[in-house]
């Protein structure tokens, strides 16, 4: 329903609104893709910007030779392959080592590409010539965001989703219950990266030219992580809940306090994290359960012993436990 409304929106919306929604969808897709791997396995990746940038460069190079849809597909494939190689060599690292490695990866790819462009291509910028309209970009990114959420939701219900969560909870147990942890991790890291590369490629269609510092901007890694944590990274629909207020808040603050934007945004994060350490999704779930209970019993507070109350209490316990539950 909501998706149909959004899909039909462009003719009635201003250019500004279209642009705002493009950024919003990009963030939703990135945060959902990030949480698909990192939220479940708790391998916290700061390589979002790396794969995003790989996608941008893949498009910039490919669109000269093939049509735009093919170039987009190519970008997703390149993102997948890069992540496959990176994943095979690094997913043995756990905890903070993995975080630091992924952070360094962005810088590594950035600098290598920079070097290549200057020394081999003798230029620092690449131009992107397409006639793709903002409305097409809007529609493409809406589709990408929706497919990412639905796909992530689907995976959470099949064996692969259970394997990801088991790895996040205790990788040794996962191995000893028959889960091929290396394969699951590398495959899902690569799937997540291919979405990131695709989003980068679609956004690149709006840029007249790119260079390495535009493509590989660490801000993306952090923004996506914050959106996912804000929403609740353990649920497929959580990161989207975080991306919406985050993008709107940044937009509002950038317009209202252009000179103190960073400070204002930082303050908001501190307040949010203080009051909502588990993110928005558990809160939504909690009120949903409460609503179910209230509807079933027609009163508040609900009766002490009932199956629904049991579920409600289990939800509360989960809420109080940790952000990732």
């Amino acid at each position: 329903m909501g998706a149909v409304v959004l899909a039909l929106l462009p003719p009635f919306a201003s250019g500004y609104v279209i642009s705002l929604f493009i950024v919003l969808y990009a963030n939703i897709a990135l945060a959902t893709a990030w949480a698909f791997f990192s939220g479940t396995t708790r391998y916290i990746s700061l390589a979002t910007a790396a794969f995003f940038g790989v996608g941008i460069y893949a498009l910039a190079i490919l669109h000269v030779y093939v049509s735009v849809p093919l170039a987009l597909l190519g970008a997703a494939v390149v993102g997948f392959l890069v992540a496959l190689v990176v994943g095979l060599s690094t997913l043995r690292l756990r905890g903070v080592y993995f975080v630091v490695f992924t952070f360094g990866l962005t810088e590594l790819v950035h600098q290598v590409l920079n070097w290549w462009e200057i020394k081999i291509n003798r230029t620092v910028t690449r131009y992107i010539f397409t006639d793709v309209s903002n409305v097409s970009i809007y529609e493409t990114l809406l589709a990408v965001a929706l497919i990412t959420i639905v796909g992530s939701w689907y995976v959470s219900h099949v064996r692969l989703g259970f394997a990801l969560r088991a790895i996040g909870e205790d990788e040794m147990v996962a191995r000893h219950t028959g889960i091929d942890t290396t394969r699951v991790k590398v495959l899902c890291f690569a799937i997540s990266a291919s979405v990131m590369a695709l989003v980068g490629a679609v956004l690149a269609l709006r840029y007249p030219y790119i260079d390495a510092s535009i493509a590989f901007n660490n801000t993306w890694s952090f923004q996506v992580l914050i959106a996912a944590l804000l929403g609740g990274p353990a649920r497929p629909w959580g990161p989207a809940l975080g991306a919406v207020p985050l993008v709107l808040l940044s937009e509002y603050l950038a317009g209202t306090f252009p000179h103190h934007f960073g400070i204002a945004l930082g303050l908001c994060f501190v307040v949010i994290v203080y009051f909502l350490p588990g993110g928005i999704a558990p809160l939504v779930e909690r009120y949903y359960h409460a609503w179910v209970v209230a509807r079933a019993y027609g009163r508040w507070p609900p009766a002490a012993a009932s199956p629904v109350t049991g579920r409600f209490k289990a939800g509360l316990a989960r809420l109080n436990a940790r952000w990732w539950t």
């Binding site: 219900h157 064996r159 259970f162 147990v173 000893h176 028959g178 289990a314």
Partner: protein, 252 residues
């Protein structure tokens, strides 16, 4: 040895010349033993004698330096852990490892979904309930792993291991830390599992349980096998007493 164990069936697992060193420390030294089908074998020895290392070698957590681990006619030494699990060897852990923020049901489903005969989640969920009832956790399915008491977490680990549908089940001090009532319940539960046709190897310090359950005991000290035999005979062996108690106390 084979003669003494003849009543217990064919050899299911055969460890031959197994060796594992961590740096300069030899944890398991040229160890050999056989595990017979449908029996309960105790693996005992003082702390640090290499029992858990043997278990980690058999389940693929560690890779042996040399030696063979023959199970169902194949040398599984060096296989990755997930493959060994699918080849029907399941285990529990010395320090209880339930998945804290998955429900009890989901914990068990994992074994069924990824073990030797993988099932889809819906089917696995149904069968998980039956297994939970078997280990005495009926009604707890929707709780989180972290919410269970210690003994119940141990029960859950057992249910998860059984959900993998093992032929060989390795229990690492599964009865440790239980009070007398729980211990009796635990012993009964292990008997029940054996009666289902599962072969069991248990690392254990609780002698009462070893006497009550084991058909055969392998004693380790400093990475080597120092004795094996029926529990009553082995537990009164001088060498075994010396390993556990020290030279002076054993002599006195």
């Amino acid at each position: 040895m084979s003669a003494a164990m003849a009543g217990c069936g064919e050899i299911l697992l055969s460890v031959r010349g197994l060796h594992k060193a961590f740096g300069g420390l030899v944890a398991v030294r040229d160890l050999s033993f056989d595990i017979h089908q449908r029996g309960i074998t105790g693996l005992i020895g003082p702390n640090g004698s290499g029992k858990t290392t043997v278990l980690n070698l058999v389940t693929g957590e560690f890779r042996p330096d040399r030696g063979a681990i023959l199970f169902r006619g194949e040398d599984i030494s060096g296989w990755p852990a997930f493959r060994i699990c699918r080849f029907r060897i399941a285990r529990t852990f010395q320090l209880v490892r339930v998945l804290p923020y998955m429900t009890v049901r989901e914990n068990v489903m994992l074994g069924r979904m990824f073990g030797s005969t993988p099932a889809e989640p819906a089917q696995a969920a149904g069968e998980a309930e039956a297994l939970l009832e078997r280990v005495g956790l009926a009604g707890r399915a929707s709780q989180l792993g972290a919410q269970l008491t210690y003994i119940d977490q141990k029960r859950l680990e057992l249910a998860r291991a059984l959900a993998c549908r093992p032929q060989l089940l390795l229990l690492d001090e599964w009865l440790a830390g239980l009070n007398p009532t729980e211990l009796q319940a635990g012993i009964d539960l292990i008997r029940l599992i054996r009666s289902d046709g599962v072969t069991i190897v248990m690392i254990e310090h609780v002698m009462e349980a070893i006497r009550a359950l084991c058909d055969w005991v392998v004693v380790m000290n400093a990475g080597e096998r120092i004795a094996e035999g029926r529990p009553d005979g082995v537990l009164s062996d001088r060498q075994v007493m010396r390993a556990y108690l020290g030279t002076d106390d054993a002599a006195a």
